[in-house]
Amino acid sequence: MSLSKDEVDRIARLARLAVRPDESAAVLERLNRVLGMIETMRAVDTRGVEPMAHALDVVQRLRPDAVTESDQHAALQAVAPAVERDLYLVPKVIE
């Protein structure tokens, strides 16, 4: 199937991306080429096949419910664009 411009805009909104009007035709065309290539796998009959989510059939490891990390907020927040009183700053959300 081929995507329309409106569908691309909807997907972009979901992905928190913007497609500029002047690049929208090229984005659509290349995206549809990729989706056209992907389309070839849809016709294959896979009834009864167990989906493979992972390369190796291993189960998630469990560990004791104990604190293992130390407080590193100073090091981690040192790379943040905006911090005040140990809090990450973002544009105003609530008036």
Binding site: L17, V34, A75, P81
Partner: protein, 486 residues
């Protein structure tokens, strides 16, 4: 010394024929001379390198040195390094300095290796030509008009042009093996879970795997010995007893069964590549190995399956780049949503945005079963094909890439043409299998050809032994690129 292998440098350092500081300086000088044209490194910090080299020399003076102590290595800029910026080839992380080291970086530092710098790569490892990097394309040392492959193109060229004796890479759909093939070096993608993903910036987590790049299979084994190992900070790290990946280097080839899948020799394979690969296979035959025809009937579906699964995982992994905790943030935003959208639109390049859009689409309501779930089922069929083939053979052999290096810009307008570069490298990571590429000749233009060996789970030692045997009898891997003489 610039032309020496890791194994040779190890002996030279042990015999005190050279110090680690002298060695590091040799490579730093070469990087300074060549990087302007090749653009293999994004970040080089000579002081940082020399400090590590002095530490290695001090360890040796204390009789506390291993086989890799004092040997320089270049790291793909996808591995987080404390105190040395980590960009992942993206504007999003152009000024990012990680507060911690990746486990691979820690392990190689614990082995005494000296960091030469951070190598260029396709943005977020998404690309097959190293042209999607925010820091500009990398050029191939065999022909500066050609791409080096990708995404670990900077690491590949650093090793190929003798700017580093070895480098780290990562492979999701071929990002170690394809650039290794296109630049005439060796690269190994280990079994999924062998090398820790902690601190390795995520692209598609069920496929991403780190591995070594060097000029010989013997060097790959030495490096893998230091890189592999269980890590409780990586939830998919495999718990196994440590092994010596060098133990089968003197492998007896007689009686080994080499699987040859017709699917890897079909339409799209360049005639010169086929000729060189068949030449290498003939050599193995002469040593007593047996060629066994095998079938991978679903191999043709690997490309579409990969381009559903990898973008789906990427769209989720890259959601973390929101301008709040680290990385790029757009200025003068109207509100929070505006900040998210503009930060991401400014911070990501075209290919990354395309894959996020594809991934978002295949995971979106109403399409999940038709795309994502269907791709996961086909992934199972592809893995089963390999399992069936390994009943009849010990490993699978074929070309690494369908062509040799192509011209810069040649495939940038058509993403599908670009994706087809990885047609032979994508099946192994979908199944989680180990695979490596070694040089096996040149085409008429003098561009290197890669031979791919794919093994069963945890068969790295066998693959490395197979590759080492070939390298004892050939000199393709010793040739120095025309544009970067010593």
């Amino acid at each position: 010394m610039l032309n020496a292998t890791v194994a040779e440098l190890s002996s030279a350092l042990a015999a005190r024929r050279i110090s680690s500081v002298e060695l590091a300086q040799l490579f730093l000088d070469r990087i300074e001379r060549l990087n302007g044209v090749l653009n293999a490194f994004i970040t080089v910090d000579a002081e940082h390198t020399l400090k590590e080299a002095r530490r290695a020399d001090a360890s040796r003076a204390r009789q506390d040195a291993g086989p890799l102590t004092g040997i320089p290595i270049a790291h793909k800029d996808i591995y987080c390094t404390r105190g040395l910026r980590t960009t992942c080839g993206s504007r999003m992380l152009a000024n990012f300095v990680s507060p911690y080291d990746a486990r691979v970086i820690e392990r190689l530092a614990e082995a005494g290796m000296v960091t030469l710098g951070k190598t260029n790569m396709d943005e977020f490892a998404m690309g097959s030509s190293n042209e999607t990097s925010y820091f500009g394309p990398v050029r191939n040392a065999w022909s500066a008009a050609c791409v080096p492959g990708g995404s670990s193109g900077g690491s590949a060229v650093a090793v190929s042009a003798r700017m580093a004796p070895a480098a780290t890479g990562t492979d999701t759909g071929g990002s170690i093996r394809q650039p290794a093939a296109l630049t005439g070096i060796c690269g190994l993608k280990p079994t999924y879970g062998l090398v820790s993903r902690y601190g390795m910036i995520a692209f598609a987590s069920s496929l991403d795997q780190g591995g070594p790049m060097a000029r010989t299979a013997q060097d790959l084994a030495l490096l893998l010995n230091a890189m592999a190992g269980f890590d409780n900070r990586d939830s998919t790290s495999v718990e196994r007893a440590p092994e010596d990946y060098s133990r089968m280097l003197e492998l007896d080839l007689a009686g080994l069964r080499i699987g040859v899948p017709a699917e890897f020799f079909g339409e799209g394979l360049d005639a010169a590549v086929r000729k060189q690969v068949e030449g290498a296979m003939r050599w193995y035959g002469e040593q007593g190995a047996r060629m066994v025809p095998v079938r991978l009937p679903n191999a043709g579906l690997a490309l579409p399956v990969y381009y559903v699964l990898a973008p789906a995982e990427a769209s989720s992994n890259l959601a973390r780049y929101d301008g709040v905790r680290y990385g790029h943030r757009a200025q003068d935003c109207a509100d929070l949503l505006d900040m998210y959208v503009r930060t991401r639109t400014e911070g990501f390049g075209e290919e990354v945005k395309r894959r996020i859009l594809v991934g978002t689409y295949v995971l979106s309501h109403g399409y999940y079963d038709a795309y994502y779930l269907q791709a996961q089922k086909l992934r199972r069929l592809i893995a089963r094909d390999f399992a069936a083939a390994y009943h009849d053979c010990d490993l699978i052999m074929g070309p690494t890439a369908p062509t040799t290096a192509f011209a810069l810009g040649a495939k940038m307008d058509d993403p599908v043409q670009m994706y087809l570069n990885d047609i032979y490298t994508i099946p192994a990571p979908l199944a989680g299998l180990p695979a490596l590429s070694i040089p096996c000749g040149f085409d008429a233009k003098g561009l290197p050809v890669g031979l791919q060996l794919t093994g069963n789970y945890f068969s790295e030692a066998l693959l490395l032994g197979m590759a080492h045997r070939y390298q004892q009898a050939s000199d393709w891997h010793l040739r120095v690129p025309a544009e970067t003489p010593l």
